[in-house]
Symmetry: C2
Subunit: 221 residues, 2 copies
């Protein structure tokens, strides 16, 4: 197997294509760093896009929702789905609106969605999604019961094609004549960061957050 | 005009529908607070989703890209587009995987996209997008020149239908029997926040960031 996703009409990055990457390390790295995926499907001929939690295991992305949710029913019925994961890292303030932009890490994936119905496979997918979102949490929690497993719809999306686009400018790039303009230009970093844990109610006395959960405090995507 | 978007098959929130809102104040507030929209379109029968900057003016959402970009050409040709803006506010760590969730503000919009070709209307749309992203910046920058206007593709999406979904749990909600489990539960807030401005290169001596730009430092979505 190649270490790159094949470039096709579907996944080819056409604009600012020097920022494009098709290698699996880059694609998987952004998928693993992100928190939510925007998943698109076609309903009655029209596109619909829905944010979802997810997790990756090799070349499979798992998505979950209520078993009866529209997104799960639609993905079950459809031959092709697409999802995008984007992390914004900065605004790039150039000396013109035209050259102003963003720094970001973005991945678009295309694949065939399948509904997972086998119970052990569903539990394994829940494990993957939970570990992606809150590493270490799965082992702290009781196993899902039969009712919960039944009520959960799991979609496996095999990555058939993918592309990444990464912009990480250290400085804005302006037209030569704009450098003479007395306008400030630079980078405004943005971070998506976990803050301080807040206790829930009815905690049993002496029960504290685990090391795994505490490790998320201050973590940036 | 009503202060609510009409509820139809397309925009009706079916899952956890007590979190749904159709009023324009909520929908517009989330659109105005967000930074990027995930825009979906249909290409050769398959869904594609792309992250884009945007700005709102009344019932119109403006999107921009390179005039020749696939997303602009596709949106120009299509009768229906959908976009979602989601801001993640927290992970909700319950005592079971099933009841664990997120706090978020999310809006999905459906509408008909139109390519804007009239030059003053294009400039006005660029103004709206720039002001949404970096309030106050437009007036600091020179006007776009003819070449830049030609190279920019602007799509106006009239909001025909929209729904918001907001989750803002103060504590996790667990099954009654799970409260006896000695597992920590609570909320892990997440913020997407602008950090400290970084100077670009070749700045003219004495040129500092404006008050408008400095006001973004420390601002959270």
């Amino acid at each position: 197997m190649s270490d790159n996703y094949e470039v096709s009409k579907q996944n080819k990055v056409r604009q600012i294509s020097d920022k494009a990457a098709y290698d699996k390390d880059t694609v998987h790295g952004i998928l693993d760093a992100g928190l939510i995926a925007h998943v698109a499907f076609v309903q009655d001929g029209a596109p619909v896009v829905v944010p979802m939690l997810y997790g990756r295991d090799g070349e499979t992305i798992y998505l979950h929702g209520a078993r009866k949710a529209r997104i799960i029913r639609m993905l079950e019925q459809t031959a092709q789905a697409s999802l995008n994961v984007t992390i914004v890292d900065a605004l790039v303030l150039a000396r013109s609106a035209f050259n102003s932009s963003m720094n970001y890490r973005s991945v678009t994936v295309f694949g065939r969605p399948t509904l997972i119905e086998d119970e052990p496979a569903k539990i394994q997918a829940m494990h993957v999604i939970t570990e992606h979102t809150i590493p270490g949490r799965w082992d702290e929690l009781r196993a899902p019961n039969n009712k919960e497993i039944k009520m959960t719809g799991i979609i496996a999306l095999q990555i058939e094609s993918a592309s990444a686009k990464v912009s990480d400018k250290a400085v804005p790039e302006d037209e030569e004549f704009d450098y003479e303009t007395p306008v400030w230009a630079g980078i405004l970093p943005m971070t998506s960061t976990y803050q301080t844990l807040v206790d829930g109610d009815r905690l049993i006395e002496g029960v504290e957050p685990s090391e795994a959960v505490k490790a998320l405090e201050g973590k940036t995507l």
